[in-house]
Amino acid sequence: MKKFDYHIPKSLEEALSLFKSLENAKYIAGGTDVLVNIKRKKESPSHLISLRNIDSLKVVEKKDGLKIGSCLIHQELLKIEEIRTYYSALYDALTKLGSKQIRNVATIGGNICNAAPSADTACPLLVLDAQVVIFGEKGTRMVPIDDFFEGPGTVAKEESEIVTSFELPSFPKYTGSAYIKHTRREAMDLAMVSAASRITFAAEDQSLLRDFLSSKGVEELDKELKNYPLFVKEARIALGVVAPRPFRAKKAESCLEGKFLNEETLREACEKAAEEAQPRDTIRGEAWYRREMVKVLTKRTILLSVKRAIEMCS
C-alpha cells in the first residue's frame, strides 16, 4: 500500500483550505472505500484529509423532515427513530449494509460520494427525494440526489467540495417506502440487484386505507388490491446495480403515479422497470437474472411500501 499523509481538520473551512493547498489530496470519512481503492491501486492519493472530526458533519435535525450529517456512521443512523418510522427504505438499507463492523466505521456521505452502482443508501435516498448539501469555495449549495449521481464513482461536485448533509422532506403520513437488497448470503455482500420504492397515497384515501388495514387484507396485499381502489399520488422507484449509477426508473414510476394501484398497473410498473434496467454479465451475477430480479424486487418493494403506508394510517 502506498504511503500517504493524514490530516485531521476540525472545521469545514480548514478541510477545504487543506485540500486546496495540498497536492493530490483526497477526503476520507470511514475509509472503507478509500483504503480498499488504495490497496487495489485504483487511486494513490498523497494526502488523506479526514472529515471525521468536523462536528457540523454529524448533525441530526428533525424539523420539516430530516437532516442528517454526511459523516454519521450507518450504525448511528440506525438508532434514529424517525428513519425507522418515516424513511423505512433508508432503514432497510442500513440494516443490510456490510456487517456491523463496517457499519460502525462507514458513513453515509462516503457511501453516496463513492457512488458505486451497488451503494445501499443510494436507492433509498433517490426515492426519498433527498437533497445533497454541498460546501465549497462558493459557499453552500443544494443538489437533488437524482442529479448528483453521474456514473460509477462520479458525482456532480468539485473534488474539493464536501458533502455536508442530506435533507429529506417530510412526507404525508399515508406514505410508505422500502428497499430490498438481493444478495447471495445474509451479510457482507454487495447487492447483486437492489430496488427501492416510495408510494404516497392521496389524502382523500385515508379512510379507505384504514378499512384495508382493518380488513387484514394487507396479509395478502396483491390479491386484495382490486377490492380497494387506491390512488397513487406519488410513486418513486429506484434501482441499483443494473446501470452505471443508481437511478430512478421514471417510466415505471409513471405507470403508477396518478393511477389506481391494481394488479395491472403494478405489473406494468415492474415490466417497465426491467426495461429501463441495463444489467450486465459480471462475476457477481448474470444479466438475464438481474433483469428478472428487477421485476421481482420492484414488485416486492412496492407492495412493502403500500403495506407500510397503510399501516401508518392506523
Partner: protein
C-alpha cells in the same frame, strides 16, 4: 471425569487474548521476507528468465531459482511430480518459478514485477475429457494420474434382477478451503547449523522428510514445528511455504518469513476435486438395492497431490452407507492445467454423497417409499458386507442415526415453499488401505505435571484438548495437571497427518496406550495412595525419568489391485442429517432453516468439540450446496468467493450416537469430515422437496435454481 464432560478448549484463552503465536508473528533480527514469482500461463515452456533488473532494486538480497536447489527439485505426498521451482515447464497459472528474498515484503513483491520470463505457450488442457484424448502430455508419464475400481458381485446380474433402474449424472466444482489463516512459515538456522521451520501446517514429520530430500540433508539437520494454525481442511497437508522457507534459510543462513496473501492463497492452494459422477442404481420394488454402478471422473489439476486418495476414497464410498450386493465403480483422475486439486475435508466423499443421496431419494419417490424407510431398509449394520467386501463387525451406528432423526422426520410439517431433505453418509477413519500409525509419549515434569509429547497438529479442531482428556481420564487426574508438547519433530514422534478424521481415533488411542503404561507405573509408585507426582519425579530425577510410550496403527488390509476388496479402514463413522430449507421461488434463493444432525462418533470425548465440528461442517455444506464456486482465472479473493456467514447458519440440533468402537480410545471414532459430508446432499434433497426441482450440479446458486424453476414452470 475429563471425558464426555464440558471442558474448555485448552488453546481457547491464548487465542482470544491474542497470545497465540502464528507463523507470521515470528520475527528475528536480520529477517528476510520471501515472495514467489508465479507463472502467468497455464501451460508453457520457460524459455528465459531475466532477474537482472530485480537484483538492482535496493533491498533485494537474493533470488533463488531451481538450479540453486541442492537436492531433488520435486515433492508430493504420494507421487513426487511437483517441482518446488519450475525451470523448464509451468503447468498452471500460479506455478512457482523463483523466490525473491528482500529486506521487506514490499520490496520482495516489487522485485517480482521487474523479473522477465519468456514463455513458449503449450495448448492448455482444461477438462478431464480433453486430458484423456489429447496427445499433449502434462507429464511424461501421461495424463491419467490413476484409475481405480471397486468390484463386488456381478453388477449386470444385479441390474437384471432389478425392478427399477435410476441413472443420473452429478457434477461438482472447485472449492477453496478458505481457512482464516493463509499459508505462512518462518525459519532460521540455529547455532548448530540446523534448519528450524515454524509453519502453519497439518503435519510436521512429512514436511521434514520433503525438506530433507530437497536440501539433500539428513532429517536430523532439520526441525519442523507447528506454529499455531488457523485452520487447514486439507489445504495445509501438502507442502505450502515450508520448502521455500527451508531452501531460503539454507542458502542464506538468514531468518526467513514467507506468507501468502489471500489472493495468492486462492490462486495456489489446492482445491476440492471437481468430480463428474455417472451413477446408476438398480433396486427391487420393495426398495432393496440390487446394483450400483458408478463412473467417477476427476480433475486433479497439474500435480498429483492427494488425487489418488480422492480417486480411491470416492470409489470405496460410492454406495453410501448401504449394503449393495453388486457393485462396480470405475474411478479415474486426470491431470489438467487447472488449479491443483487436493485434500479437502472428506477426500471426494462429500461429492459422492451428493450423488448417492440424491439417487436414494429418486428411488424412494419412484417406488413410492419414504426416503427414511428406504435408507433404513438398505442401511449398513453389524454383519453387513461393504462394497470392498469388508464385514462390519463392531460400531455400526448408522441405523441408530436414522432412528434418532425419525421422530422429527415423521412429524415434519411442510409449509409453503418449504422442504425437508435427508442426507446420510459413512466414512472410513484414517488412511485408505495402508498403515497409518501414531505414537505418543508421556513423562513427568519437575513441577509435578504429566507432559504429553504428541506429533498431532491441532489446527483448531481441538486435538490438544481431546488428547489431554484421554490421558487425564486414563490416569484419573485433572486436566490442569497436564502439559502438551505438540507437533515438533525434535520432541515428538510421528503421529501422521491431521486428516482423514483420524487423530482422535488413532493418536487418541496411542495416547491412551501410553497413559495405561504410566498409570501402572504410578500405581506402583503409590500415586493413587497419595504420593505426589512431584515426589515421584524427584525420586527418578537422577536415574533418569522413564518415558511411557503408546502406539496404535488401525488394523487395515491392503486392497486388491483389481477389485479393491479388503479392509480399507478399521472402522467407520456414520451420520444422517435432516435439513429444512425455505426456497424463494421467485428468486431462487435458498435459506437453510434447521438441521437435525445425528452422528455416530463412537464416543464423544469432548461434546463441545463434536458439536463444533458439526456446526462447522454444516456451514461448509451450505457453501458447497448453495454458493461456493472457485472459477479458475476469475475468482481472486473473498470479494467474489462466497462462503456462508454466521447469519446464514441454521438452527442445529445435534444428536450424538455412541456405538463404541473397540479399537478406539474409550470407543471413540472421528467426526471432522463426517460433519460436512451429508450436509450438501440433504440440502439438495430439501430443495427438491420444496420445489420439485432436482439438483444435479453444485453449487445450486440462485441463478441455477431460478433457471431450473423456470424450466419446470414452462413444462407445466
Amino acid at each position: 471425569m475429563p471425558i464426555s464432560t464440558q471442558i474448555d478448549k485448552i488453546d481457547a484463552y491464548d487465542k482470544v487474548l491474542g497470545k497465540a503465536k502464528y507463523a507470521s508473528d515470528f520475527y528475528m533480527e536480520g529477517m528476510l521476507v520471501g515472495a514467489l514469482l508465479r507463472s502467468t500461463r497455464p501451460h508453457a515452456h520457460i524459455k528465459r528468465i531475466d532477474v537482472s533488473k530485480a537484483y538492482s532494486l535496493e533491498g533485494v538480497v537474493r533470488i533463488i531459482q531451481a538450479k540453486d536447489i541442492p537436492g531433488e527439485n520435486s515433492f508430493g505426498i504420494i507421487r513426487k511430480d511437483q517441482p518446488l521451482l519450475c525451470d523448464k515447464k509451468v503447468r498452471f497459472i500460479g506455478d512457482p518459478i523463483l523466490i525473491v528474498l528482500a529486506v521487506t515484503e514490499k520490496v520482495a513483491k516489487e522485485a517480482l514485477r521487474l523479473i522477465e520470463v519468456e514463455y513458449e505457450d503449450i495448448e492448455p488442457i482444461l477438462t478431464p475429457s480433453d486430458s484423456e484424448r489429447s496427445p499433449i502430455l502434462i507429464h511424461e508419464s501421461g495424463n491419467l494420474l490413476t484409475h481405480k475400481k471397486v468390484i463386488k458381485g456381478n453388477v449386470e446380474k444385479g441390474f437384471s434382477e432389478s425392478d427399477i433402474i435410476v441413472e443420473n449424472t452429478y457434477i461438482t466444482t472447485w472449492l477453496d478451503h478458505a481457512y482464516i489463516e493463509t499459508e505462512s512459515g518462518f525459519g532460521y538456522m540455529d547455532g548448530n547449523g540446523r534448519i528450524v521451520i515454524y509453519s502453519s501446517t497439518q503435519n510436521v514429520h512429512y514436511k521434514r522428510k520433503e525438506i530433507s530430500r530437497i536440501l539433500a540433508l539428513p532429517e536430523e539437520k532439520i526441525r519442523v514445528v507447528q506454529a499455531t494454525t488457523g485452520g487447514g481442511f486439507g489445504g495445509k497437508l501438502d507442502m505450502t511455504i515450508e520448502g521455500y522457507v527451508a531452501l531460503s534459510v539454507y542458502l542464506t543462513g538468514k531468518p526467513i518469513l514467507i506468507r501468502y496473501s489471500r489472493e495468492e492463497s486462492f490462486l495456489v492452494s489446492t482445491k476440492r476435486h471437481p468430480l463428474y459422477i455417472h451413477y446408476t442404481t438398480g433396486a427391487k420394488k420393495n426398495g432393496t438395492l440390487c446394483a450400483v454402478k458408478v463412473s467417477i471422473i476427476g480433475d486433479t489439476g497439474p500435480y498429483a497431490s492427494y488425487g489418488e486418495t480422492v480417486c480411491l476414497r470416492a470409489a470405496i464410498h460410492a454406495t453410501g452407507p448401504y449394503e449393495v450386493e453388486n457393485v462396480y465403480v470405475d474411478s479415474k483422475m486426470f491431470y489438467t492445467n487447472n488449479p491443483i486439486s487436493g485434500a479437502m475435508r472428506g477426500f471426494g466423499v462429500p461429492q459422492i454423497a451428493f450423488a448417492h443421496e440424491t439417487q436414494m431419494d429418486i428411488l424412494a419417490e419412484s417406488l413410492n417409499l419414504d426416503p427414511l424407510y428406504i435408507r433404513m431398509k438398505n442401511g449398513l449394520k453389524r454383519g453387513s458386507k461393504t462394497a470392498t467386501s469388508q464385514i462390519l463387525e463392531e460400531s455400526v451406528g448408522y441405523l441408530e442415526t436414522l432412528e434418532r432423526i425419525k421422530p422429527f422426520w415423521l412429524e415434519r410439517k411442510k409449509g409453503k415453499d418449504r422442504g425437508f431433505g435427508l442426507g446420510s453418509m459413512f466414512y472410513g477413519m484414517g488412511n485408505t488401505g495402508i498403515t497409518n500409525p501414531s505414537w505418543a509419549e508421556l513423562k513427568l515434569s519437575s513441577d509435578g505435571k504429566v507432559v504429553l509429547y504428541t506429533g498431532v497438529c491441532d489446527i483448531g479442531q481441538g486435538s490438544d484438548t481431546v488428547l489431554a482428556q484421554i490421558v487425564c481420564e486414563t490416569l484419573g487426574i485433572d486436566v490442569s495437571k497436564i502439559e502438551i508438547v505438540r507437533a515438533d519433530t525434535d520432541y515428538t514422534k510421528d503421529a501422521g497427518s491431521t486428516s482423514a478424521s483420524r487423530q482422535t481415533y488413532i493418536s487418541g488411542k496411542a495416547a491412551y496406550e501410553a497413559a495405561l503404561k504410566l498409570r501402572s507405573f504410578l500405581e506402583r509408585e503409590g500415586f493413587y495412595s497419595g504420593k505426589k507426582l512431584k515426589d515421584i519425579f524427584e525420586k527418578y530425577k537422577d536415574m533418569g525419568m522413564p518415558v511411557f510410550d503408546g502406539f496404535f496403527d488401525p488394523p487395515t488390509t491392503k486392497l486388491d489391485p483389481e477389485t479393491s476388496s479388503g479392509k480399507p479402514y478399521a472402522t467407520y463413522a456414520f451420520a444422517t442429517h435432516m435439513t429444512e430449507v425455505a426456497v424463494d421461488s421467485s428468486t431462487g434463493y435458498v435459506k437453510v432453516l434447521k438441521v437435525h444432525a445425528a452422528h455416530d462418533v463412537g464416543k464423544a470425548i469432548n461434546i463441545q468439540n463434536v458439536k463444533g465440528q458439526i456446526y462447522g461442517g454444516i456451514a461448509m455444506g451450505i457453501g458447497f450446496a448453495l454458493m461456493e464456486e472457485f472459477v479458475p482465472g476469475k475468482t481472486k479473493s473473498f470479494n467474489t468467493y462466497y462462503i456462508p456467514t454466521s447469519l446464514d447458519m441454521p438452527e442445529v440440533d445435534v444428536f450424538i450416537v455412541e456405538s463404541e468402537e473397540p479399537t478406539g480410545p474409550f470407543g471413540a471414532k472421528g467426526v471432522g469430515e463426517p460433519a460436512l459430508i451429508p450436509s450438501a446432499a440433504s440440502i439438495a434433497n430439501a430443495i427438491y422437496d420444496a420445489t420439485g426441482v432436482r439438483i444435479f450440479e453444485l453449487p445450486c446458486d440462485m441463478e441455477k435454481l431460478k433457471l431450473l424453476l423456470e424450466r419446470k414452470r414452462e413444462r407445466g
